[in-house]
Each structure stands twice: as structure tokens, then as C-alpha cells.
């Protein structure tokens, strides 16, 4: 049974179509990450699930029931906003207890206290319960924000870039923690981000959005290895996939291929020109390029190479050493290249 679904949902704001006939099914206990650039309709999609927006067309279901016309309060969803949106006039405890004190919920004071303490311990904010939320650090605020969603045990969690306003280290910590919590609770989460690393690490399935349309929904690995089109290919991977005319890399391409996409890790660089022979006497093959820059990241090294007037990123071994401006022979790992037709769809 699907925990939640959009069925052909469209939402327009004036002349702009924020979400365009989108269908997305989220399975029970699944972590779905919606990935896309700013303005792709990610947040609107979440708001459609939450009931903060009503679709102009299409339907929304949660737990199998049609909730298209139901208000947010009756949908049994929890929303974590991009900004913390904690109530500044309340303490951490009161913020966490706020959803439980909602009129329809009728929870006893003792039960509320128990639940809030439990969640505070889970998120490691128990010592801060008495503090005003304005006195918390960014990471703590966001924990409280997530905690406010967790206390209720809703049937669906909606998270709108909850980690985007945190610094890198905190983001990483909370990301790991969030995944752990989701596994422990078996929670169903629809999570919006523009950070591909978050998408890759958190998601059971990634939905790639562009201009209000869902381009592809699949496991992170499948989206990475077999992207539906150029946009999806570009969303995942850092450095980005190299897009070159097939001829520039001397690739055998299927008919109709206008663009070839090669991941940096699929390019093999060998010092020297492509037409020379290496020490074993075999042909190096490939095409000749010139090294423009080498970036050492510790676990990996990325070389920026100019090939036929185009800049191409290539992943080289951590101890690789290429002199700037020196010639290199570049080959593509057999079968690794992706080909796209002139409209951008993968062949």
C-alpha cells in the first residue's frame, strides 16, 4: 500500500506552473528525496502533500484515502520547514509539546511529557528542554524542528531542505542521524533538497524535478548510472558529468546521439600524447588533452583537462601527479559513456 501519492497533480500560481501533472507514489517506510534546482517545484510538491496548497488538477492520497479536499490539520502529516520556524516565544519543551497539545489530539499531560522527553533524548536535546529556542545554536534549533515533527508519529513526514541552513559539519552529522532515526522508526519521508550529496545518501528513491515536472524516480544508483535525460544526469555527481560531442572523445556512438556524457571517474588519463606508444609498446588510444588544473581532495584527485577546446573533469588516483599544461591521453572506460539525443533524452 502506498503511504502517500500525488496523482496527476498540477498547481499554478498565476501564469507559472509550479507543479505540472505530477504523479508520485511513496511506499510505506520509504525515504523519497526530491532533487532539483531552485524553482523546480520541490517545495510546492511538499505543500501539496501537506495540504498547504490545493492542486488545481489531480488528486492527493495519504494512507490510501483521498485527501485532496482535506485541510492540513486532518491529514496526519508533519512538516519540517526550511527555516526553523520554531515559536520564539516558547521554550524547547513547549515547542516540542505544541503539536501534541493540538485540540483534536486530546493527549494527557503525563503522556505529553513522556513523549517529549523521549524525543528530546533521541535527538540529544534533552538538557536544553527548558531553554528558550532563541538561545539555541542553529544545529539545536533544527533538531528541535525535526523533533516537533517526530513527536506526533504522523503517517507522513515532509521535510523542506531541513539541513540547508546549517554549516557543513553539522549538516553531515544531522544527515547521518536523520537516516538512523528514519530506519529505527520506519518513517515515511518525502524530503526536498538541492544538495545531491543529501539525496544520494538519504534516499531510498530520488525524484529528479525540473520545471515542475518529475523527470525520473529511481534509486540513487539507478539515477546515477542510467539517468533519464541530461538534466537528471547533471543533478547527480560531483564534479558534474562531462558533456561533450561524441566525436571529441573519439567514442563509438549509437545513431542519433548528439551529446555524450562521461562521468569523471570513467575517464582514464595517461601522461603523454595519444599517438605515442607507452612502455609496453601498446597503443594508448584516446584523444590528447592538456592538463589545466589539478585539485587534490585527499581521497581523490580531480584533473581539469582541455580536450578539443572543451574542459573535462577526470578523476585520477589520489597520488596521481600531472604537471600543469602537460599533454595527456584520455580514454573512456568501455561502455561507460552515456549518449543523449538532440532533445536531451538518453538513448
Amino acid at each position: 500500500m502506498s503511504a502517500a501519492a500525488l496523482i496527476g497533480a498540477t498547481k499554478r500560481f498565476g501564469d507559472t506552473t509550479a507543479v505540472d501533472a505530477m504523479s508520485l507514489e511513496v511506499a510505506d517506510g520509504e525515504f523519497v528525496v526530491l532533487l532539483g534546482p531552485t524553482g523546480a517545484g520541490k517545495t510546492t510538491t511538499l505543500r501539496l502533500f501537506a495540504g498547504l496548497e490545493r492542486p488545481d488538477h489531480g488528486r492527493v492520497t495519504i494512507g490510501g484515502a483521498d485527501v485532496t479536499a482535506t485541510g492540513p490539520a486532518e491529514r496526519d502529516v508533519a512538516f519540517v520547514f526550511q527555516q526553523y520556524s520554531l515559536y520564539p516565544h516558547l521554550t524547547v519543551y513547549e515547542n516540542l509539546a505544541f503539536p501534541l497539545k493540538a485540540p483534536g489530539r486530546r493527549m494527557g499531560a503525563a503522556a505529553i511529557r513522556r513523549r517529549v522527553t523521549e524525543i528530546a533524548e533521541l535527538l540529544r536535546i534533552a538538557p536544553k528542554l527548558k531553554n528558550r529556542v532563541t538561545a539555541l545554536s542553529g544545529g539545536e534549533m533544527q533538531r528541535v524542528s525535526i523533533g516537533r515533527a517526530l513527536v506526533r508519529e504522523p503517517s507522513l513526514f515532509l521535510m523542506d531542505e531541513p539541513l540547508s541552513s546549517l554549516d557543513a559539519k553539522l549538516r553531515e552529522d544531522l544527515r547521518v542521524e536523520l537516516k538512523r532515526i528514519q530506519r529505527d522508526l520506519g518513517a515515511t519521508i518525502v524530503y526536498v533538497t538541492h544538495d545531491q550529496l543529501e539525496a544520494m545518501t538519504l534516499a531510498d528513491r530520488i525524484g529528479v524535478l525540473s520545471a515542475g515536472r518529475l523527470i525520473q524516480v529511481d534509486t540513487p544508483r539507478a539515477v546515477y548510472e542510467t539517468p533519464a535525460d541530461i538534466t537528471a544526469a547533471q543533478r547527480l555527481g560531483s564534479p558534474q558529468i562531462n558533456l561533450v560531442p561524441p566525436a571529441a572523445m573519439a567514442l563509438d556512438c549509437p545513431a542519433g546521439a548528439a551529446t555524450a556524457g562521461v562521468r569523471p571517474e570513467d575517464i582514464i588519463l595517461v601522461p603523454g600524447r595519444a599517438d605515442t606508444r607507452d612502455v609496453t609498446g601498446g597503443a594508448t588510444g584516446g584523444v590528447t588533452g592538456a592538463v589545466l588544473a589539478v585539485e587534490h581532495f585527499g581521497v581523490e584527485t580531480v584533473a581539469l583537462v582541455e580536450i578539443a577546446g572543451r574542459q573535462v573533469h577526470a578523476l585520477v588516483g589520489p597520488r596521481a601527479d600531472f604537471a600543469h599544461g602537460s599533454p595527456v591521453a584520455a580514454t573512456v572506460r568501455p561502455g561507460a559513456a552515456l549518449f543523449f539525443d538532440s532533445s536531451g533524452v538518453r538513448l
Binding site: 501537506a50 495540504g51 498547504l52 485541510g71 492540513p72 490539520a73 491529514r75 502529516v77 508533519a78 512538516f79 520547514f81 527555516q83 526553523y84 520556524s85 520554531l86 515559536y87 520564539p88 516565544h89 505544541f98 503539536p99 493540538a102 485540540p103 483534536g104 489530539r105 529556542v133 532563541t134 534549533m141 516537533r148 506526533r152 541552513s165
Partner: protein
């Protein structure tokens, strides 16, 4: 040279001293009329008109006694025949060859001011809060035009509407009633209150209400539990402005009230006529009149200074 870090933005100690002196001097200058009024209220009538003016004097409560009582002048023989004075204020009055004949109308007028001032302030802020929320959050047809219309009620000088309002009030039976004055002051204050409060509501991110609504609250509950507490500073500031206006208003009060609903501002000058030039009584009336606004402002001062704590949201 001291090794203590001195920030370039810090003012030099000399600069601080000069600035401090100027501020204190200006404060003293503006305080003089207030201090003079309070001092006069504790002077005896001869001291209050002595020349050169007395800065040091023997304080007396005569002004306050005169403010709250009506008195008549009697012969010393009559006063002697009354027996010993019953209270301290009886004896104070008898020293001037007078006896207290009754209460003055000041206390009643003062209560009128309290009822009308605070009543209209409450109404203006209450209605203003609801209107401001609606203007800020809902899609209202002709919203901008309505807002401008509300503001435009403030543009006409009171003199221009005095006669129509006078006639209207007479026709409706609202002349010289508490209700009439509360309605009038509410109407005048509402434009200020709606505009001020709308600014405060605009500053509160919608996410707060959306979060509350998703958490299972209705829109109205979200307003009460989430928006209202964050509007506290704004409501306090607006209330102070509204109270200061309706408390001090003179022109309409003079025109529309004469007895039942007369407020203190048109009454205090009448004291001059009633008891000759009784400056201490006038000063006593003015001093007491200042107290509620000062107390109200001091009570709400913390709300005003609290600053608007939007710290939990990054914009």
C-alpha cells in the same frame, strides 16, 4: 600605551563625556515644565504666584484638597463655632477661613477620562489587530484601496469634521455619552492601529502559522497561540500611541461633552474659573492627569524595548 584592545568604532572617553553632558542638559531642559507643574501642585496659592518665583518652598497638599473639594468662605466666628476640625484637610481649609461644602467634580471627570481613554484604546487595538491580520494574510478584494481609505480618515483636520460630527452625535443621542466618546476615539485611532499592527504582522513569517496548522490547529487557534504572542511588542506600542491620543484629546471632548461624559482635559481649565486663579489646584489636576499615561508607558516599556525576537527564523 595600554595593551587593552580599543575598537576603532568606540567613542573616545572625552567624546562620551561631551555627549553625556549634552544629553543630560537637554533632558533637564525638557523636564523643567514638568517639574514646575509638579512643584506648583505642592505650593500654597501665595507661593505659586510669588515674584520672583520660589524654587524652594514649604510643600502643602492644599492644591490637591482644593482640586477635590468645593469650599465657601466663612467668618472666623462661624468657623470657631464649628468645633475642632475632623480631618487634616478640614484644618488645612479652615486656615484660609473656608469650610468644605462638598466634593468637586474632578474625580468624576477623571474617571470619565479613564473609561473613555482605556475603553477606546482597547477597542482600537482589538479591532486593529484583527483587521491587520486579515489585511496581512488574506486575499481581500481592493485591499490596497481599503488600506488607503482607512489611512485617509486620518488626513482631515478635526476642525473640518467637528460640526458634522456634532450634528450627527446630537441626532443619534451620542452627545455627552461615554459610548459616543469611545466610538469617536476608536474611529480616529483605528487607522493608526491598523497600519502599525499590519507592519508587525507582516514581519511574522507565515511558516509559523503553517507549522501550527499542519500540527493540527485551526487557523484561528494558530492566530491566538502563535501570532498573537509574537505581536506583543507591536500591540504594546500601538496601545501606548492610542492611549496618548485619546487621553490627551481636547477639541472633541470640549465640543461633545459637557457633563456626564466630560473628560479631564476640558475640565481642568474650568478650575481656574471656579476658584479664582487657583494655580496649585490646576497644577494638581495636571499632575494627576499625567500619572496614568506615565504608568502605562512604564509598565509596557519592557515590551517596547524587548526588541522583536525573530531570532528563531533566518530570513
Amino acid at each position: 600605551m595600554s595593551s587593552a584592545a580599543v575598537r576603532v568604532t568606540d567613542t573616545s572617553p572625552r567624546g562620551k563625556m561631551i555627549a553625556g553632558t549634552l544629553v543630560i542638559a537637554y533632558a533637564l531642559l525638557t523636564m523643567i515644565p514638568l517639574v514646575w507643574i509638579v512643584a506648583t501642585s505642592f505650593k500654597s496659592p501665595p507661593d505659586s504666584i510669588s515674584y520672583p518665583p520660589k524654587v524652594l518652598f514649604e510643600p502643602t497638599l492644599e492644591g490637591y484638597v482644593n482640586l477635590f473639594t468645593t469650599r465657601s468662605r466663612q467668618t472666623p466666628e462661624y468657623i470657631d463655632s464649628l468645633g475642632p476640625p475632623a480631618t487634616w484637610y478640614d484644618s488645612l481649609v479652615r486656615e484660609r477661613n473656608m469650610v468644605i461644602t462638598g466634593e468637586s467634580r474632578f474625580a468624576g471627570r477623571y474617571m470619565n477620562s479613564v473609561i473613555i481613554g482605556f475603553g477606546s484604546t482597547f477597542l482600537a487595538v482589538f479591532l486593529g489587530t484583527l483587521a491587520a491580520y486579515a489585511f496581512s494574510r488574506f486575499r481581500i478584494p481592493l485591499r490596497d484601496d481599503l488600506l488607503f481609505f482607512i489611512l485617509s480618515t486620518r488626513m482631515m483636520p478635526p476642525v473640518a469634521v467637528a460640526i458634522p460630527i456634532y450634528l450627527m452625535y446630537r441626532g443619534l443621542g451620542l452627545s455627552d455619552t461615554h459610548l459616543g466618546m469611545i466610538l469617536l476615539y476608536t474611529a480616529v485611532n483605528l487607522s493608526l492601529s491598523v497600519w502599525l499592527l499590519k507592519g508587525f504582522v507582516d514581519e511574522i513569517p507565515r511558516e509559523y502559522e503553517e507549522a501550527a496548522v499542519v500540527d493540527g490547529y485551526t487557523r484561528f487557534q494558530a492566530f491566538i497561540k502563535v501570532v498573537l504572542p509574537q505581536m506583543r511588542a507591536g500591540i504594546a506600542a500601538t496601545a501606548i500611541f492610542c492611549l496618548i491620543f485619546s487621553w490627551n484629546e481636547y477639541a472633541f471632548a470640549l465640543l461633545l461633552t459637557s457633563g456626564t461624559a466630560q473628560t479631564a482635559p476640558p475640565f481642568i481649565p474650568i478650575i481656574i474659573g471656579e476658584g479664582g486663579l487657583d494655580w496649585p489646584a490646576v497644577a494638581a489636576g495636571t499632575t494627576l492627569f499625567l500619572v496614568p499615561v506615565v504608568v502605562f508607558t512604564v509598565l509596557l516599556r519592557r515590551q517596547l524595548l524587548r526588541g522583536i525576537t525573530f531570532g528563531a527564523v533566518r530570513r
